[in-house]
Symmetry: C2
Amino acid sequence: MKRVRANPGHGERLREEILAAAEALLVETGSEAALTLRAVAGRTGVSTPSVYLHFADKDSLIEAVCLRAWNELERRMREATRDVGHPFMALGRCGRVYVRFALDHPVQYRVLMMRQGSGSAAEACFGYIVAAVSACVAAGVLHGDPQALALGVWSAAHGCASLLISQPSFPWPEDLDGFIDDTVRMVGFGTALASRLPRRAVSTEVVAELDALAARFAG
Amino acid sequence: MKRVRANPGHGERLREEILAAAEALLVETGSEAALTLRAVAGRTGVSTPSVYLHFADKDSLIEAVCLRAWNELERRMREATRDVGHPFMALGRCGRVYVRFALDHPVQYRVLMMRQGSGSAAEACFGYIVAAVSACVAAGVLHGDPQALALGVWSAAHGCASLLISQPSFPWPEDLDGFIDDTVRMVGFGTALASRLPRRAVSTEVVAELDALAARFAG
DNA sequence: GGCGTCAACCTGACGATGTCAACCTGATGG
DNA sequence: CCATCAGGTTGACATCGTCAGGTTGACGCC
């Protein structure tokens, strides 16, 4: 537990150690309430106020810890949308990767996305979706303002991830990936259809036309 | 500020006063961090530990406060789905009312729906959606397991509400009700279409058919 | 080789908060 | 008139985030 003081010029080492300890505590306990500055300092082998050498306050520490996961989101997003033939397929992959990422980092996602404030993480998420949606608009598969469309599909993806995280005791299908898939397809089809219908189209009349369309894919 | 002690048999009066004070504090500050037991007690004109006469701990108080709003959700839901001809229309109204409710009670919605635990409020929400979806399935406008379908549309509605609450500084359309409308229609159409397509239907082929369908509603 | 200086950390404390044990008080039934 | 008990209060404790000020050891400089 004893720690040797870093030599001058290597003060940043403590910052990394604190981040690692805080991340471990956060993931182990699954709750940011258990993340105490004293616990973090103790696990790092350092005195409590030393945390303030590298982080302005507790919230800054928590935010820095959670933001680390977003690097992985960026990597997954880039990998998912690379070498995909059609932008609409890429958008689907984008949605699946997004929800999967949230489920793989539930604490970080909850802290950065399900509380007031911050915003930088949310902006990153939104950016990825806007890019994927813009490609679809450019390809003519979606119609309208990319930002507005992206807000819609982002809402659905975030809602799916958010509910899965905050309500784990719900009757979610045991095939989670299948459910995510269904939700993503639902959003994709819904956006595609709604984006080419006038607002005044009567919902029931539209739905009545869907049976004939679906019959063509029955086989 | 001075309070006269309640006569025996009227101890429940303090409970109501505490709830009212806590609710006011919560709504005024917009954050549950500012909800201090001492502040609540002070505003009620009572000593701090007296809160424990009616609430087991701080979390119980917060939960009780936020749950009060759910009475209004139930009322709005019942009113929205009453005297609506088609169940698909009713489902749409249900979604709009849901998001509107969340925006009208952002703190309560965040506390009960965007944190771990609790669940009773979420179960109520889910119940309303399942009912509306079940009616659509019974009417043949949606196909499949009502619970699974409901989880999908609930995800989207919750995501819309959740993002609007937690990221108010985003470029949301200035016509918020219009955006909510678009999202609800998107989810409705998407669920209707996806629920009658086999999982193996290729997305791009499906989208290709939508133009012809949309042409019929162009006028 | 002594010496100042500065980065890197520690000690001790403060105010605020949730919570508990123990005490008080005034209306009420017998 | 008195015991009882509902309806509170007082005082304290542990824990938390945070800050002011002290300590220590490496390194450049004369």
